[in-house]
Structure formats: C-alpha cells, structure tokens
C-alpha cells in the first residue's frame, strides 16, 4: 500500500482514508457518517448552470480537487492568528482555530459551567458529548443546492464549536469563534453547532478569515442553530476569507414554539463565496429576523441563496439582504419563502436591495414565494439601483468631496442593518469591516 500524507496530497479517496486513520479516536457513529458522506460527495453531481439552484452562478472554478487538507501549524505560526482574533473583547468565551486545530481558548466562566453551559471545541466534544452530537451534528439536510459540498464538509470536518445552553439560562455577552486558514491550497471545514434549550438566551459570533492575503484556499463550513421553545438566539457571521479563496457556507436555523432568532451576516471576503441560509420555523409563535450585508469589489462573486420554511402557524420571518457592488463584481440573491398548508397566520417578508456603484457590476435577484396557506401576509421586494443623485448633490453642495460623499451614502445604506445590532462592540466591529472594505477599494 502506498502511504499517503493527507496534509500534502490533493483531496482524494486516499487522503480521506488517511484522514480517518489519523482521527482514529472518533466515535463509531461519526466514522460511519463520514464514510457515507464521502461516498455521497463522490456520487453527487457537480453544480451546473442548468440546475435551478445554481442559476446565474459561474460554476467553472468550483472544483475542490486542487486543495489539500490544511496542515497543522507550528506554534510560531499561530501568534499572528491569535493577535488577529482580539476583536470582541467583552465576551463569554472564545475559541480560536487555525487550520482546523484549536490554537487558543478562553473558556467560559465557572458560573456558566456550573449551570450546565457547554462551550467546547468539537475536537474534544466528539468524545465528551458524543450523545448530544450524535443527535444534532449534521442532522439537517441541505435544501439549497450545495449537497455535494455539505457532504465533503461532513466527511472532512474535524473541529468547530459546540455551544449548549440549558433551559432558562440567559447569557448576555457573546461567545466568539475565530476560524483561520493559512497556507497555499489549504482546505478548512469549520463547523458551529448552537443548541439553546427552552427559554434560554445566547449570542454567538463566527469570524472566518485567512492569514495570507493572496494564497488560494478552500473553506467549506456548516453552522446550525437550534432555538428551543421560548429561546432567544442571536448569531453573527463574518465571511472574510482572502480574495483568492473559494468558500461555501451553510447556515440552518430551527426555531421551536415562541423562539426568536436573529442572524446577521457580513460577506466581504472570498473570490467566489456561496452561502446558503435555511430558516426552518417548526414551532408556532416564533420569529426569525435575517440580515446580511455584502460588499463586493474587483471580480468577486457573492452567491447567496435563502429559504424561509414556515411549517407552523402564527409565526413571522423577515429577511433583509443588502449588497453594494463595485468594479466588476457580481452578486446573486435567490430567496424563497415557503408557507406550508398548516402555517396559517404567517407573516413572512423578504427584501433584497442592490446598490450598483460601477457600470460593470452585476446584481441578480431571484426573490420567490411558494404559498400554500391562505391566511398569510407575505411579500418580497427587490430593488437594484445606484446612489441617489439628490442625496449626493446635497453633500457635494456642502463641500464634501465626491468620493467621500459616495462612501458616506454607502455607509448609510448599511446603517439600516447595523443599527439593529444591540451589542455595541459587535455593531462597531461590523461597521468597521464594511467601511474598511471601501477604504481598500
């Protein structure tokens, strides 16, 4: 048998076998799941433009064969990552991953630990909390087109975050995980699983980034949030992989009775970023709010697909995705609201606003509705336009230079979402990221 080093070879069957042998301590249910997922990954078709779920997307360059499992970093290599991670100082706990290894940890307080809160890297949790993970890890199907990449994630994931909040525990300060990729052709598979039990309250932040500016990397991540009855979950993700990267991200949220979910996304990195968000309303009286801010420049392609599945009555969901496009960038927003027959008294809304800042930028919108119940209020709106001439004139007339005035108006465009973030440090961090992207443009 030829020996294969899974850290240096491109992704292949042999690499997968070697990966399994290197992670021999994994529970048997997980090994089985991984083996099945690898088979699925190989069997599932690659995206093509004739697939409705990939309509308008540039499907060339989505091959993952040219990447290898991200190598374990030397201690000397992790310092810069650790420094880059100090973004949200007032937090309840922090995990820092470099190439899928835990490189830094600020554990939660003894008080929270005593209440039964679990905040652990998956590398430990697979052994320590196997029964929770067996029930919840990758338990949700993909519904939006990236089944092949999700299968790859399940097969090759080895780390990420488990956050479990027991009944009636309310935590104000956010938990934060940083996922860094380093090295040429490195592939990382970040994972987040948040389980908030009845009437609990928690905020979680995922930050994705690269240590190298120009090296092509692959990120294939999955995050899943369970909001139990009456729970309040707030989730933030920052997609800031370097602009040579290919990234896939799937976010699934499941709300039970009277639960609230608020999700905020920032999309600024990657050469080609595909993100899928599935909001599943399984309990009556729940409420989901979904926000996203995308700033694209150069030839970036930001492809976002969302589905709001209303399976229970008396619930509400509201989605607002805003995109600002510079240069030759391209965005795709494809959103669907599905209201099942039994989901009467649903209020579901979906809005996509695109701001085109260059003659070569291209925005695609596919806002959809599938409504099978009649007592509902559902709407979607999509607008694509440019900076308002009157507002620009107003600022120019007051002596503001044109580039500054344009910047201010774009910042104002995103303020509608930023002001929804109540945690001040988080709001500032997000605001800074959006503004920095314009600074570099």
């Amino acid at each position: 048998m030829v020996t294969v080093n899974s850290e240096t070879e491109f992704l292949s069957e042999a690499v997968f076998e070697h990966f399994l042998s290197r992670n021999a301590g994994l529970p048997s249910w997980l090994v089985k799941q991984k083996e099945k997922s690898w088979v699925d990954y190989l069997a599932l078709p690659a995206p093509s433009r004739s697939m409705e779920s990939w309509r308008f997307a540039n499907v060339t360059g989505l091959g993952v064969e040219g990447f290898r499992l991200a190598p374990t970093l030397e201690p000397s290599e992790t310092h810069s990552l650790f420094e880059a991670s100090k973004r949200i100082e007032s937090n309840s706990g922090e995990l820092v991953f470099g190439n899928d290894d835990l490189i830094h940890e600020e554990a939660l307080s003894a008080e929270l630990s005593e209440k039964g809160v679990i905040f652990e890297p998956l590398s430990r949790a697979f052994a320590k909390h196997s029964e929770i993970l067996e029930e919840f890890f990758m338990a949700q199907e993909s519904a939006l087109g990236s089944e092949k990449f999700t299968a790859l994630h399940t097969a090759l994931n080895r780390n990420g975050t488990l956050l479990f909040v027991p009944e009636n525990v309310e935590i104000e300060l956010p938990f934060v995980s940083y996922h860094w990729a380093k090295g040429e052709e490195s592939a990382v598979f970040p994972h987040t699983l948040v389980i908030a039990k009845d009437n609990s309250k928690v905020t979680f932040v995922d930050v994705y980034g690269s240590d190298d500016k120009d090296l092509a990397q692959l990120a294939c991540g999955v995050s899943t949030l369970y909001a139990g009855p009456g729970a309040n979950v707030e989730y933030h993700y920052v997609q800031n992989w370097n602009e040579s990267s290919l990234s896939f991200n799937r976010l699934t949220t499941i709300t039970q009775r009277d639960a609230n979910i608020r999700a905020f996304g920032i999309n600024i990195g990657s050469k080609h970023a595909r993100s899928e968000g599935h909001t599943i309303i399984d309990g009556a009286g729940s409420n989901a709010e979904l926000f996203s801010m995308t700033v694209a420049h150069d030839s970036q392609e930001m492809d976002q697909r969302t589905l709001q599945s209303h399976n229970a009555p008396n619930s509400r969901s509201n989605l607002l995705f805003k995109n600002a496009l510079q240069d030759e960038s391209k965005t795709i927003f494809s959103g669907l609201i599905k209201v099942a027959e039994e989901a009467q008294q649903t209020d579901a809304y979906q809005t996509n606003r695109n701001l085109l800042l260059n003659p070569s930028a291209e925005a695609n919108s596919l806002p959809g509705l599938e409504i099978l119940a009649n007592d509902v209020k559902c709407s979607h709106g999509a607008t694509t336009g440019q900076i308002d001439e009157e507002q620009l004139f107003y600022l120019l007339a007051r002596g503001v230079s044109k580039p500054t005035a344009q910047k201010l108006l774009v910042f104002g465009f995103f303020e509608e979402i930023l002001k929804q973030i109540k945690h001040e440090e988080l709001a500032d961090y997000h605001r800074q990221l959006v503004q920095q992207k314009f600074g570099n443009a």
Binding site: L356, A361, N364, S365, I371, N374, D375, K377, S379, A382
Partner: protein, 468 residues
Amino acid sequence: MSTEAAIDIDREKGNFSYDTDYEYDAGVGLSKDTVNYITDVKGEDDWVRAFRLKALEIFHSKPLPTHWATKDLENIDFDKFRYYLSKGQQPSRSWDDVPDDIKATFERLGIPEQERAFLAGVEAQFDSEAAYSRMKDELSKEGVIFVGSTEGLKDHPEIFRKYFGKVIPTGDNKFSALNSAVFSGGSFIYIPPGVKVKQPLQAYFRINAENFGQFERTLIIADEGAEVTYMEGCTAPKFETTTLHSAVVELVALKGAKIQYITVQNWSSNVFNLVTKRGLAEEDAEIKWIDCNIGSRLTMKYPGVILKGRGARGEVLSIALAGDGQHQDTGAKMIHAADDTTSNIIAKSISIGEGRSTYRGQVHIPKHLKGCRNNTECDALLINTNSRTDTYPAITVRGNDNSVQHEASVSKVNAEQIFYLMQRGLNEGEAMSLAVNGFINDLVKQFPMEYSVELKRLIDMEMEGSVG
C-alpha cells in the same frame, strides 16, 4: 343588440361541439409524415417544408422543461393528438359562405355580432384553419394586411419571411419547436407606416374536435409610426381527453409603432395551453400585452418584449384566475437591449379552491446600458385554505445607471371588508366577489370596455359557491 349579448362569453357557453366531417385530416400522432401532409395540403414552398422538418427534429431533441416547470407536462401524450383538421385552406370573406356547422358555432359565440358592433376585422379559426377572415374595406385601401398565416405565407412572402421566426426562434423552447413544425392558422398582420387602426382587429380561436392540437402562428408587423390593437379569444368544448393548444405569436413594432395585444383565454379545463409570445420593439416603439387567463388545465405563458431600440417601451398587464384543477403559470419577460428603455409588469392572480397560480418573470438589463427602468408588481390573492400561489422572478441588472424595482405580495380577502359588506345586507358570495373585483379593478380599468365587463362577470360566476 344589447351590450350584454356581445360580452356574454362564459365558461359553459363554449362547451358544445358539432360532429364535423373534415376534408383534411393528418391522422393521429406526430411524425415526418404528419409534417409533410400539412405542408402538402397547404401547397407550401420548399423553404417552409424544410423549416417545419428542422423544427420537428428540434422538438424531439428537447426535453420537457420539468426541471423548473410542473410535472403535469408529463401527462401530455404527443402520440395521441390529431395535428391537422380542416375543411379547406381558403377562408370565406362572407359569413354566408362559411359551412353551416362552423357558422353555427361562431353564431353561438356571438362573433358576427361583435364584428358588426366594434371590430375593424375578424378572423375566425375552426380547428386548424381560418373559416372566415374579413377586414373593413377602407383598411385594405390603406394597405393593411389582415389574413391567416397560410394566406400570409402564400401571398406576402416578401414581408412574412423577413420576420417569421426572428422574434421567437424555433429552438426557443420545446413548444415553440412543436409549433414551428406543425403550425397552421393564426393571423398575419401588416400595418403600413403611419397607419393607425382605430378599432381592434380580432381573432377567435375555436377547437371543435376531440384529441386535437391547435397550433396557430401569428405574426404582427407594425411599420414605422403605425398603431394597432389585436384581440384574441378562444374556447373549446370540455372533453374527457386532453386537448393541446400551443401557439407562437411574434410582434414586430418598428420605429415609433405601437402594438397592443389583448388575450382573454377561456379554454375548457381539459386544455394544455402552452404558448410562446414575444414582441420586438424598435426605437421609441411600444408593445403592450394585456393577458388574461381564466380557462385551461395548465397554462404556461410568459409574454415578453425585447426592447431593441432606444426609448422603446414594454408593458405586460396580466390577470390570472385559477380554480379547482387549474394551474395558471404565467408571467412576463423584459429583455432590455438598448439605452433608455422602460418596462412595466403588473400581474395579479387569484387562486380559488385547489387552484394554483404561478408568476414567473425575467427582467434582464445587460452590460453597458444606461437609463433603463423596470417596475414589476405581482399581487396574489388566495381565497380558500387549500389555494396556492408561487412567485419566481429573475432579475439581472448590470451597471450603475439603471434601476429596477420588484414587489410582490400575497394576501387573502380582508375579513373586515367581508364583514362590513355582509353587515350591509350582501351575502358572503356577493361580498367576496366585490372584494375580488376590487383587487383587480385598477388593472381591469386599463382593458377595453367590452373585456373588462366580461371579466367582471366571469369573476362573479367563479366566486359563487367558492366561499366556505
């Protein structure tokens, strides 16, 4: 003659048929022989035969579009239809010369009366061919051509060939390919430069035979500065077996021309209505589709405008009513291909009982264009708990000097409105009917009077017994 008689086209009114002896019958099923039979009977030129045979190949090579459209399409058995049935290829210029059973059919549908009342010209198609075609004499003097497509091909090939299949290529979709292979009937209209036809031209499409497929082909050309309004109506008897209607309609509006195309589709509920309609608008031209879908089992129709010349305008006003067993899959396409082009889409649908209405739209503003505007509004009303609606628009915009807005909403009839009306003595059905008419009122107001009255009556009838 009362106004009511003229507008009295309801779903049951068309539900009759005559046993007719056809002189020409291409038999059952679709093959090269079918296509050759049609082209022989019509005495067509070789290029038409070649065009048809090529189209048949394309039709066979294309899969059904079930990856995005309904699986109900799989229930169409193309081998069971009759593709050509007629009593002859030459339409009469006088109702007196029309065969008795065909004449009786159109009398029952009120067509000759409407012609006398308010139409500039009428073409009445019975199964595969026009049985009657006539236009007011003063229009022929002005050079207006209004004939069936068979006559158009024969007598005016120099105009016909230039535009035929140019707006909708054969391979546009599986059903446009089918039509291109076996087309028969439909209208050919040419309006010379500057001629403004004040009264509408009308075509009436009638299916009489069972297991029949009607494939009319319409081409309307409005030369520079010309204006025309074309209306089409259709009915078929309700058979146990399925009927297929697959038309191709191409409009060409040259510089500054205006074409308005009005459809009230009231096929019986065994008809698959799979139609491709598209217009090409040159500089400052305007094309407006008013599309009203009430009948059929499944309708798939997305009228479109290619805005090819600077300042061109396109508009689609669409109303769909889907009752039990019906799926109205309708919408609009606006392809902006020049600067300063504007388009407007307003679509309203009502789903009753287990009816399903779907809006599919495409708005495309590609690179390097300036000053393009689109506005799209889609509103859906759901009457019963098991009614369904879907909305699937696709919008692509490039460049920072164009603007597009799309809005869609879904709602049910406001319970307070119904309560208010019932407090004032209306029964629930009447109250519902009033509310539904209110929902589409702003759109219906833009229809010609005769059509808006007809539509209102159809909705009243649909709403009776739909409550509960």
